[in-house]
Symmetry: C2
Subunit: 149 residues, 2 copies
DNA sequence: ATATAATAGTACTAACTAGTAATAATGTCA
DNA sequence: TGACATTATTACTAGTTAGTACTATTATAT
């Protein structure tokens, strides 16, 4: 985005980096979203499904932390996943506040059939732009950025 | 996120990078969102307001491209900004399909009073994690990634 | 020890906002 | 003038957030 005004030399560099961060993820996500849409899933739904697929049973609170989301948000997305029969929930015996979520056989089959291709899509997007060393550098810088927040 | 399963050496590296990309932006955005929320703005609203503040009059279609959004989406966010009196719209004389958007004096005053601090916040977040050279490298890698999509 | 109050943890509801797909309106050009 | 392209809106679905309710834990008083 062409900017009419400068907000300082260093600030302009940061703004530029931030715009690139935002735009690159937006573009990748929009491809992912379209691809998942053809398979009747949204990105937030896929995120929760993936957590349960790879990590087993989890509570709403654990999912909230993993996805950097909020509890109310998870409740809604979980409701939509449950109505599709992809996950199920069991109230915890030890603590009646807690609701344990688990992927169903159908959900697991879905993930089995799409996850590999999803990874291939993503890999293709990154490989189209960067070599492996660059991807590693990017990863390391982003990790530092994330951990500082 | 600990992953139980590997999807290939190179694939795991890409997935890791993608998770870092997603998480770093999520964390930064959640701070921005909270800060803007105190000023009665959402992030999408701020994005449109910023475009009009820095670039002058723009059509819905131009904003759509700048923000990598979709027309229907812009219409909704524009409606919310108009009802707050921060922007106004004028139908184009040359082409009656086109709606020209412009920031109001009130909108401009709002941006004048918050944009500098917004830049300072963002700069602070990046500087807490990375030095200027690292930010430049990050920016360059992300730009390549974005342009390849 | 037991009862009660205060605090923390966990998830849900409702109102709002955004995002998407289908549609309408206008313009362009053969 | 009819077919196609462009531009924006409408209507529907989903996600997000703030506020609320419920359960558990800890502290305090009797």
């Amino acid at each position: 985005m062409k900017r009419a005004k400068s907000y300082g030399r260093h600030e302009d560099i940061v703004l530029r980096a931030h715009i690139e961060l935002s735009r690159s993820l937006t573009k990748i996500r929009s491809k992912e979203t379209a691809w998942l849409g053809d398979r009747d899933l949204t990105l937030p739904q896929f995120g929760i499904l993936e957590s349960l697929y790879h990590l087993g049973k989890l509570s709403v609170g654990q999912i909230t932390k993993l996805t950097l989301s909020t509890p109310g948000n998870i409740t809604v997305v979980v409701k939509n996943l449950e109505s599709k029969g992809l996950i199920k929930s069991i109230p915890s015996d030890e603590d009646r506040r807690i609701k344990i979520l688990e992927i169903t056989e159908e959900g697991s089959d879905t993930m089995k059939s799409i996850f590999h291709e999803h990874v291939a899509n993503l890999t293709g997007m990154y490989d189209a732009a960067l070599n492996e060393e660059e991807i590693q550098i990017l990863s390391r810088l982003l990790r530092k950025l994330e951990k500082a927040q």
